[in-house]
């Protein structure tokens, strides 16, 4: 879940325990809602699976993702403890062989990377021909995107480094990287500060959704 900006090592390392504790504290219900939407798209995704920005491995463990990369060594120690095979590296780096993975996940990661296009192009390179990329996003136009942008503007130590994209921007990056959107699942329609119950994910796009899952397939011949 953490990205790959130049100083992200120290950035996420400094808040690693606090960050990981969020998933069992105030963020538990939000995490469950987001994981539920991601589970909706898992059937028929080819293996092996890689998560770029695996963080402490919460999503990887919940979804059954085998391999993860992240620049934060402290978070990777936690991910490894959750059974994930980890590599301490940024999403833009490339050391996996081409045509290796069936699915590459980026779950709340694109907003933290230096170059979304480079990360997506690298995902394209390492995916098998029939492979897919799965994005978990907080879109800029959503109430949650506005909520986090307000934190960014206020100088929040993590979100000040984040860039939240509109759906059309993400779609443009995907096309440039050689992907075609195949499926969209949305959830977290409850507003910030008002999340009280689990939600059923919707198979449609919506600017009101706090969490959007995009499955995009690799366009062959790229």
């Amino acid at each position: 879940m953490t990205g790959s900006m130049a100083d992200s090592n120290s950035l996420f390392d400094d808040v690693a325990s606090e960050y990981d504790a969020w998933f069992e504290g105030e963020g538990k219900l939000i995490f469950d809602i987001e994981a539920s939407a991601l589970r909706r798209v898992l059937p028929r995704l080819l293996r092996p699976w890689l998560e770029v920005g695996v963080g402490s491995g919460r999503f990887a463990q919940a979804l059954g993702i085998e391999i993860g990369i992240d620049p934060s060594t402290r978070l990777l120690e936690m991910a490894r403890g959750r059974g994930i095979t980890v590599f301490p590296v940024r999403g833009e780096e490339s050391f996996f062989d081409e045509d290796t993975f069936g699915t590459v996940f980026l779950i709340v990661t694109l907003c933290f990377v230096d170059s979304p296009l480079r990360v997506l192009k690298e995902a394209h390179r390492i995916l098998k021909t029939e492979g897919k990329v799965v994005l978990g996003l907080v879109l800029r136009e959503s109430p949650w995107g506005q909520f986090y942008r307000a934190k960014k503007e206020a100088g929040h130590r993590l979100y000040r480094h984040a860039t939240f994209y509109r759906y059309l921007e993400v779609d443009k990056y995907l096309k440039h990287a050689g992907f075609a959107v195949e499926k969209i699942v949305t959830t977290l329609f409850q507003k910030p500060g008002e999340v009280t119950e689990i939600e059923t994910p919707q198979e449609c796009s919506s600017p009101e959704a706090g969490f959007t899952v995009i499955v995009a397939s690799k366009i062959t011949g790229r």
Partner: protein, 60 residues
């Protein structure tokens, strides 16, 4: 690092094959060792079962 992972890894610089050297291992994985790119003559260390595949110029 599990030994079979070497099959999906390439040198981050030249994308060539990597050769695994094992210094210490347990029943599951390589704990200490290295991945060597003969073409670049660069060795990528494995410590505490985690390989560091950062290109040499990006290492701290």
């Amino acid at each position: 690092m599990k030994k079979e992972l070497v099959a999906i890894l390439v040198c981050p610089v030249c994308k060539g094959e990597l050769q695994l050297s094992v210094t210490e291992e347990n029943k599951d994985e390589v704990v200490v060792g290295s991945l060597y790119c003969a073409k670049c003559d660069v060795r990528y260390p494995i410590a505490e079962a985690i390989p560091n595949l950062l290109p040499p110029e990006q290492r701290p």
